[in-house]
Amino acid sequence: MHNGESQNGQANLATPAGINTDLLKRHGNTGKLFRSVLLVTGIMFLVGIVGIVLRLLEDGTENTRVWGYHAAAFAFILTTAQGAVMVAIAPRMAKAHWRRPISRVAEMFAVVGIVNLLMFIPLLSVLPSLEDGRRSLWFYNAADPILSKVPVYTPHIWASLSLIFLVLSGLMLLWVSSLADLATIRDSSSGRKHRFFAWLANGWHGTSKQWFMKYHRIGILGAFYFMMLIFTHFLIATDFDMALIPGWIDALFPITHAANSLQAGCATVIIAMFVLRRFGGYGDWIGLDQFWGLGKLMFALSLLWFWFWFSSFIILWYGSRPNEESVLNLIIRGPYQPAFMAAFILNFIAPLFMMMWNPVRKSIWGPTLVATGILIGTFFDRIRLYVSAYSIPGIGDSSVDKHMLHEIPQTVMPHFIDYMIWVGAIGGSVFVYMLATRIFPIINIWEQKELLLYKFHKKLHRTEVLVLGKPD
């Protein structure tokens, strides 16, 4: 075991003042690379916005078929960036010390939620109301005297509310957990910057009461974010995906959708870590330990990916009722088989056979490579699930048999507007994230200083051991 060994190797980083100086210097400076990437992603973001406008002007919101790739892009960001915040929450609750340098990296992905909220708006008008006769979580039935009283836009309302709360709680979490760091910046700056950060730090002085409240708020907001994430995935997966495919009854699917998000979230953070190390110059802070710890988590979640998928698949395969067969024919065997195979290999097979070797697990490039694969796999997986669901003809037409899909639609290939939307979604996410690094320091300063209290080396007879404190 070499927990927490590699970072803070330099002597000047082993004191609170040293940590402050180093991280504040990094926070204040922007390199040429940073600015040019910011410019490029900003342009990508604009392209995406133009794409959405073009789509609205050209096709309107009547035909769901053309909106499949947009929905997939939305689900992709929901799965990756918004899942990434969990990497800050879960290891913090488990009191793992290796999480300290990356908890801010992960939390910061909460800002990407704003981009996703924008992408969600057109989808709301694309999704038909409950009157189209499909199945729904909300149990609408026009023929039933009681169930017909359900408002026909219930899914739209609840999904928007949960997404808004998810984004808000993520931003709150980011703000609360960086209060102490904002105060540090406030204290080391002057002028307009000082005023701005004083406003952001909201009177943080580091009293024990403030610290106490901060720990509690982080805990509560973390738990709340987790619950909102599961809930949002639950609603999006059922109402915006499963319900659109007639005959698809899969109680596990919403949970699979959420579990995929945790896996893809880990992958996102690992890639962010790699970029920070390679291009951001944070090599002293983000080390092997972080890759190792998060890599193991990602490995476990990759196995979970398979377990959840197989649990669904075996039931549908074994039951082989016509409605189940048609669903399998649509999303696994049929037009989207290549996408499924890509997801299967990149989300499960590759992580399994690479991460089972300790040398790969315990390296920088190993987890990064696997994480890249997982992101690509998730990309194909979301396309498979959403493009297929939105391509079902006749959605919104009450003549469609809600019990079974009778004809498997053809594969929908992306239009150039779809490419624009995808470019915008990814570019916009990176753009917003990079802007946020200008406000919040990307390495958690106070958590690093806290670590100095709980970790030291000690001589034990003829050997030296690491002592890690675990406060209650």
């Binding site: 075991m1 488990a94 377990w307 039931i315």
Partner: protein, 458 residues
């Protein structure tokens, strides 16, 4: 964990071997009672062998009853051992140390009880149950049908049983050496053979540590597969209402962890009450397990909720009729309410209080309550499902167990009690070396006026 008592190795040996080197006074009466219950159950089984499955309460719509419920229940309990020892070992949680072995042993014996409940007494021709899979029934010229979940079941359960037994035995080696050094005569010869000549060299200790982690990592995926497969016994079926649900595998797993970890907490309390190991199993441990249980129980409840939502999602008449029977018609309604209260609404709010989590008595009551509830949960999944009110209403039926069935169910409980008592008489139920290692690897950090517990990592 604030309180910590530093003990020397001799003290630990004396305390923890008290049940092995001497026979506690309650031990003989306890095992006699358990043996009597077991033998009565065996008698009932003999009677059933003679007369046929008719002596149970099973009938035409309800083909699976108490035995299957009990099978799932014991498989569920068996998930405790690996859950506690493997997951906590991999996450290096210090509080696992005193409870790992008891949990693993519970796994082994409850798996055996499960095997007793399902293939043995469940089938119509138990004398052929052995030929089910092992050895293959080749004399009749036909192999097994690997497409059947009832073949996946034994392959998973046998793998799990083998793995967990070996897991226990490997971790026993150093402790057997301690007993060898404390005994004389024939017992010493026996323990000398059992401990394979353990000496305690750095190499042996290192492999012990690696083995713990490696075996944990290998057993964990097996543990997940076992209950998944058990759930697929039900979920693959399309002929029975309310079972054909994809969520069954994770739902059963999390339910199994809920009941299994509760059973471990019950055993912990019993260990303190019976052997006075209060220096080793302290309220801290119960507190930690109580916190874990809150998370597990809530997750379980979430899956339960999702399962229900998606049962109603289809809005199909047979499913709704089944659910209506399950919750609105006496006596199922009463059982359903009892199940909800005992499995969730009684224990979980109580665990939120630190006082309850740290009280031996209350943890005993609440964890027993969880297992009553989880037993009922399986009952309410299996029996109303098979009663199938629709679509062929000609086959409505009800079910109540016969006395023979109840005796055979009691037999499996008695078997687990006998197993644990015998094990505790021969082997230490708390791993000595794990406790000693915890004492060596223990440290403290002084920060100002406060002392923070710390542990040594290599």
């Amino acid at each position: 964990m604030q309180e910590h008592i530093q003990l020397d190795q001799k003290q630990i040996n004396d305390d923890l071997l008290s049940g092995v080197l001497r026979t506690p006074r309650w031990w003989l009466p306890a095992i006699t009672v358990a043996l009597l219950v077991f033998l009565t159950g065996m008698g009932a089984f003999g009677y059933m062998l003679n007369k046929g499955v008719g002596v149970t309460g099973l009938n035409r719509p309800v083909f699976w009853g108490f035995f299957m419920v009990n099978f799932v229940f014991w498989i569920g309990i068996s998930h405790a051992g690996i859950m506690i020892s493997a997951i906590l070992r991999l996450t290096q949680a210090e509080w696992r140390r005193p409870i790992t072995r008891a949990a693993e042993v519970l796994t082994v014996f409850s798996l055996m009880a499960a095997l007793m409940a399902a293939p043995l007494v469940h089938v119509g021709r138990p004398w052929r149950a052995g030929l089910w899979v092992f050895p293959y029934d080749f004399a009749r010229g036909v192999w097994i049908n690997i497409r059947s979940p009832f073949i996946w079941d034994p392959s998973a359960v046998m793998t799990y049983l083998t793995a967990s037994t070996l897991f226990v035995l490997i971790a026993l080696l150093p402790d057997l050496a301690v007993i060898r050094d404390r005994t004389t005569g024939r017992a010493r010869v026996l323990y000398s053979i059992l401990c394979l000549g353990w000496r305690g060299t750095p190499r042996q200790w290192k492999l012990q540590a690696v083995a713990g982690i490696l075996l944990s990592a290998l057993v964990l995926p097996v543990f997940v597969s076992v209950h998944s497969i058990v759930s697929w016994d039900f979920a693959v079926q399309i002929g029975t209402e309310s079972w054909h649900s994809t969520i069954f595998a994770p739902y059963f797993i999390i339910g199994a962890i809920h009941s299994g970890v509760s059973a471990v907490a019950t055993i912990m309390v019993l260990m303190v009450w019976l052997w006075n190991w209060d220096k080793y199993l302290r309220p801290d441990h119960l507190d930690a397990i109580g916190r874990l249980l809150i998370v597990v129980a809530t997750t379980w409840f979430f899956f339960f909720f999702v399962e229900w939502i998606f049962a109603l999602y289809t809005l199909e008449d047979p499913e709704i009729a089944m659910r209506e029977l399950q919750v609105l018609q006496w006596p199922w309604s009463g059982l359903f309410i009892l199940f909800l209260i005992t499995a969730f609404f009684f224990p979980v709010p109580l665990w939120l209080f630190k006082k309850v989590r740290r009280s031996f008595f209350w943890m005993f009551v609440t964890t027993i309550s969880v297992n009553v509830g989880m037993w009922l949960e399986r009952f309410l999944i299996i029996v109303p499902g098979t009663m199938r009110k629709q679509p062929f209403v000609f086959d409505w039926g009800s079910y109540h167990p016969s006395i023979m069935e109840i005796l055979m169910v009691a037999m499996t409980f008695a078997w687990v009690v006998i197993g644990l008592l015998l094990f505790a008489r021969i082997f230490p139920l708390i791993p000595l070396f794990d406790i000693k290692e915890g004492m060596v690897g223990r440290d403290e950090i002084k920060i100002g006026r406060r002392t923070v517990p710390a542990s040594i990592r290599e």
